[in-house]
Symmetry: D2
Subunit: 261 residues, 4 copies
Amino acid sequence: MTVRAIVWGENIHERVNRVVAEIYPDGMHEAIARLLRQDPAIHAETATLQQPEHGLTEARLAECDVLLWWGHRDHGGVDDAIVERVARRVWEGMGLIVLHSGHFSKIFKRLLGSPCALSWREAGERERLWTVNPGHPIARGLGPHFELENEEMYGEPFSVPEPLETVFVSWFQGGEVFRSGLTWRRGAGNIFYFRPGHETYPTYHDATVGQVLRNAVHWADNSRGAWPTVHAAPNVPVEKALEPIVERGGKLHAKGEEGLR
Amino acid sequence: MTVRAIVWGENIHERVNRVVAEIYPDGMHEAIARLLRQDPAIHAETATLQQPEHGLTEARLAECDVLLWWGHRDHGGVDDAIVERVARRVWEGMGLIVLHSGHFSKIFKRLLGSPCALSWREAGERERLWTVNPGHPIARGLGPHFELENEEMYGEPFSVPEPLETVFVSWFQGGEVFRSGLTWRRGAGNIFYFRPGHETYPTYHDATVGQVLRNAVHWADNSRGAWPTVHAAPNVPVEKALEPIVERGGKLHAKGEEGLR
Amino acid sequence: MTVRAIVWGENIHERVNRVVAEIYPDGMHEAIARLLRQDPAIHAETATLQQPEHGLTEARLAECDVLLWWGHRDHGGVDDAIVERVARRVWEGMGLIVLHSGHFSKIFKRLLGSPCALSWREAGERERLWTVNPGHPIARGLGPHFELENEEMYGEPFSVPEPLETVFVSWFQGGEVFRSGLTWRRGAGNIFYFRPGHETYPTYHDATVGQVLRNAVHWADNSRGAWPTVHAAPNVPVEKALEPIVERGGKLHAKGEEGLR
Amino acid sequence: MTVRAIVWGENIHERVNRVVAEIYPDGMHEAIARLLRQDPAIHAETATLQQPEHGLTEARLAECDVLLWWGHRDHGGVDDAIVERVARRVWEGMGLIVLHSGHFSKIFKRLLGSPCALSWREAGERERLWTVNPGHPIARGLGPHFELENEEMYGEPFSVPEPLETVFVSWFQGGEVFRSGLTWRRGAGNIFYFRPGHETYPTYHDATVGQVLRNAVHWADNSRGAWPTVHAAPNVPVEKALEPIVERGGKLHAKGEEGLR
């Protein structure tokens, strides 16, 4: 069964910064989509900030199993209504993979309820990612560690909630560490944060990074198990109680009244 | 050492509904505060929706170790700026105890990043809370179960993130169950959700409920361990790296530039 | 891809107790295997306590993706060496589904490191299982709740470690609750505990129970992601360090020496 | 209130290895106990492998709030009966802090139900521990990171269950990372693993290590909340059910019979 993925790219630095444009002439989103398309079981499309509704219309999201998110320069430019729309789809069961500087995106902070801050250094130093959970589906086919010769450093503490599971931890040449692969679930939606991906380095041309992202898309896919009523707060009237009960005590709500939100 | 608690009450139904007013003539916040004051190691004040800044000024929150939150009728009436202010204090280390219908409060949904929905029935039925984690500090001094003869039913699924720990699970006479005591941490802030507390029943006059709340205040107190920089995203310049490194590769940021948010 | 499952049954009560024999004339293991075989993507065999090596030879376990375990009367009769063999395969990646009275099996207690105790009552009362995590793969296709008209009661507290996720919570007619579907991971092995299944009731003829077990087999299957070196504690000699370092300080181990265990 | 701690030391290398003896002339256990005694609210005694019952009699354990465990050379020399005795006390509520090479101790593997393996190198390299959870009580008073100039390397993957919380992550000079501070709970017992402490280096003379250990003792102390019945599996007879029920269906157990274990 094919997983339907959308790679969302902010698509700014690749157009205004020469270094980035040379590495990603077709845009970062396109490079990421190509990594996904190496797996015939993934159908990968793209969407960008500049498109109407940022390319994330209700109709497109309804047919998206896993959304990947890369943004950096203009997190504030993402419409709050679109953020809520994406959050809603995640709760209902759409997977979400947040990449690198996406740690400060509105959607990531919205779903984690935390500042998601970290320390950083742009020096092209060596990053070595260690698999701390080799049995996790996202680590399938990987060795004990892999390296990115040039990456931006992200350092702990990373102010996110304790994850469901930690998959990768990074070592940096300059002396820092970082929990580089973390999972959470919100509603029925699986969320994965993957650290690498600074735009001035060729990270999204790396074969192992591609493997991780394809694994993550399959792991995040929950299309067979959705939760469309995740927002619902239904009243269960006394006469429909599963066990017979008699109403007692004071009442706030008139019969058949909706609950307060 | 005294824990400084603020009990925040919406303070509406106790003024407009006769049933509630009779049970809580001084307001629900005052009844909850009295339960806390049975412990001389807790200093409990109150705050209400109607006060300037909802009684939650920067100055008061700065000196608050644990905030308790009861709201129901007018979640929407809480100013978004105050919600952000409270969230910030939680991340920095203030404890938060969310009560009953507070599951739909802005602050709870903000910190959990989830819909926080559930099913419900107002029939004054029996609720029996089981301690599933007898070793947890919030369960200190409690027996294996305790009952509230009249309570509103809340039923699963409760669309919140998987908790750090589950402390209580409720049995309802009408056939439902509910995870009634759940913990999370956001930043340095301990969060506890406690289910009982419908305004038309005398739940906040119950001795065991009082014991749970006092236990929870002590558990949530993290005043000796704060995280004031939880929001900070400092740049670590190459020349201050802990291990000597040489800058390489393409650059996005000019020297000394702030990061993007 | 077919998942290879083995249903392990103690196979005592169905031979010595007339009530059980009438419900499960071919043995409980066979009834459970039939439920699994309704899914053509599951290949289900059986094994019993009475077979040589309890039917769990090295060779069979090596080709088993998911093991299901039902035992009650003679947990002590299971050979410790076989328990260690099963534990080892779980750590390496074999899934394990522990059923009902298997909560006191050697293998469950071995892997959880906890007493796994609970309270109980054999009165054929009604059990209603609520799905508290509708987005979890084990809950696929289920409604919000399902009932077993006659079951043994298991009551909290259930002394197991905090699970990775809680999938089901049970309501009992006599007033108790129980966390009926819990997941953990040990090494690369996924573990699921599922509460129902008392031998004097026809639980393993129930269609919904069958659906849960088939879902659980697919969820537990980690055959594509094993961790064969989960036991290894390799020395990394200085000359093979990934970053150049110079040996310093006092030494305990001679060069090339094995570590202490 | 004073926390009663026992520091258990294997007490072998400090007697047979000159390097270790020079650093710890009174034994490692004594050095660790001295770090604890800097806090007047901790009463720290010691126990060693060579004492009768390894110094861990029923009577001593009954009055111990937190046990610290350092062993390396002779894990196999610890009596299985004492291991079970300690495990039982942990389940009932005694805290356990496992140090360094104690990752392969019987008691740690027993409680975690996992191989607890890792890679290693004894080269006196630099270790830098990063606080990834600055709001955790074990991190109180610490800065963002601290260094041990000479330590043994432990590398991921560390085959332990996903922790309740991750407190520290280590950076090693030779290129590895390690989750150096992890918490779990078993029954009512809080468990903390702290990585540093190789016997050929002066780690237990380090002030920051002392601070971590004192913090950990206070965090692990659960003496006010025990769970003495954690092993009990009581029958709840029909006539004592909390809600009235009528016995139905087939029966396995005669009235008043004990359950099977």
